[in-house]
Amino acid sequence: MVQKLKPNAQKILNDIKNNKIFLLDGATGTHLQNNGLEPGGCPELMNKENPEIISSMAEIYYKNGSDIVLTNSFGGNKYRLRHYELGDDVFELNKLSAMLAKEESEKYTEKFVFGSIGPTGEFLEPLGAVSESEMYDAFATQMSGLFEGGVDGFLIETQIATEETELAIKVAKENFNILILASAVYDKGPKGFFTMFGLTPKESLRIFFESGAHVVGTNCGNGSEKMVEISKQLRSFTDKPLIVQANAGIPKIKKQDIIYPESPEFMQEKYKELIINEINFIGGCCGTNSEHIRLFHELIRRHNESI
């Protein structure tokens, strides 16, 4: 199915052609935990039971400069939700997550919402027990909810399994006419950066763009320093749009408290290199907060004003 992209999606792509950089948001999980999510609680259920917290999170990120906020739907697939006996609520919880963020975005003229799609946690056959058609349907249900709720793109993120990522891209491509972003986690090993399934940044560009992603990149797993390294590699192999979202470092423990070591100022300094590497979508992953986003916004605004 080749369909014209919806206007917002097309607008974002056009703006990128004009060198605009889009700022995404900071962490969702840590924000929710600071606002009443019990350890082990279901984040997506908050879309239904604590919608005011989800709305206010979007509000805070938009206020601090995010152009795009992610929906609270990272684990919103049936495989994750059935751990909470919510396997039948996939469509509803995803739709709610999108509607909540969308409502906040509409208070501005040029703010957008991307639907967050995390890994299923299952392995496809023959490695695991889940068939391709079953997982296809699972992604389709999640994406339908997000689409109905009004998202402008799908961010298929924190991906480790190549075939699963390809499948998610395929589902998005075949059924919806909004942006598709595919973002993987890389680990630095003795031979460089690889996903757990052995994909290099270079190979991921080829595979994910060929599958139909509009934007490819990386999130999670690393602090800003390594993400800058990966961004440099990615940019050296493609002119197409890229997305990078770093963690605020690797968490450390200080007396029972978990600390993400990278301060907003530290990351702001490192993120200058993301702009040099012409990364088109920049945001924060685990451990980043509204202050990180505010400082990233300072950088990005300066860039966007100069174009």
Binding site: P39, H83, G121, I160, K191, M196, G198, K252, I253, I258
Partner: protein
């Protein structure tokens, strides 16, 4: 190098001197059949591993010999290739599955003769954490390496771990966490084992995406598994230490 050409080729991936010596010696004087099993395991060919293991047992080769000279030699090379970024999680899982196909024939004999397998490991994701990808990977790898593994699933409280210990008497308990908010529950579980006087009876191992060696030390864990393959290595080391202590 070795009698089996394919295995000799695989052995070229072993480049650290100490490992060349150690793994090389271990393979050197084994029969072609054992080398064929090791090679099939590296290739992830579960049918061949299963069939050859059965055949060897029928020929009167001891279960221990097949385990040490065939399966485990293959697994050593798999571990090296994984660590050195030559193969990745899918290939390792497929080799682990082949190992399991061999173990299916070997385990009944080992337990009949009263020989314990590699050891017993009790696994769970800590309280408050429902993420089991990493834990399940570790379980597949541990089983593949010949351990008996008991799985307590997700959201495992310190009390559940203690109950599991009483029930299964494992040598090692492996705790997994994906969320930074649930990581401290590893420390709480370790403390709980102290409180009820069981701390010295078992070795506690931790792992998970946000977990680091530094964190494991801070929590007072006995070992940190950086990856599923590393978890197997650490479990082996812990069990050797534990057996020395018991002797």
């Amino acid at each position: 190098m070795f009698e089996h050409e394919g295995l000799s080729k695989e052995f070229e991936f072993v480049t650290k001197e100490s490992e060349i010596k150690h793994i090389g010696n271990s393979i050197q004087n084994t029969s072609l059949k054992m080398q064929t099993i090791a090679f099939a395991l590296i290739q992830g060919d579960q049918d061949t591993v299963g069939e050859l293991t059965k055949e060897c047992l029928e020929e009167g080769i001891s279960a221990n010999e097949i385990l040490d000279n065939g399966l485990l030699n293959g697994m050593s090379i798999v571990g090296v290739k994984f660590r050195d970024n030559i193969i990745f999680v899918p290939e390792v899982l497929i080799s682990a599955r082949a190992m399991k196909a061999g173990m299916a024939h070997i385990e009944p004999i080992l337990s009949e003769s009263g020989i314990e397998p590699q050891g017993k490991v009790l696994m769970g994701t800590v309280k408050g954490d429902l993420h089991d990808i990493g834990k399940n990977l570790c379980i597949m790898m541990l089983r593949g390496a010949g351990f008996t593994v008991y799985d307590l699933g997700v959201d495992t409280s310190p009390e559940d771990f203690a109950d599991g210990f009483e029930e299964y008497q494992p040598d090692v308990i492996g705790m997994s966490a994906l969320l930074t908010t649930t990581m401290p529950n590893m420390g709480r579980t370790i403390q709980y084992f102290e409180d009820i006087g069981l701390r010295d009876d078992v070795r506690l191992m931790v792992g998970g995406a946000p977990v680091t060696q530094e964190f494991a030390d801070e929590m007072g864990a006995d070992a940190y598994g950086e990856s599923a393959v590393d978890a197997v290595e650490k479990a082996k080391e812990l069990i050797v230490l534990l057996k020395d202590l018991r002797d």
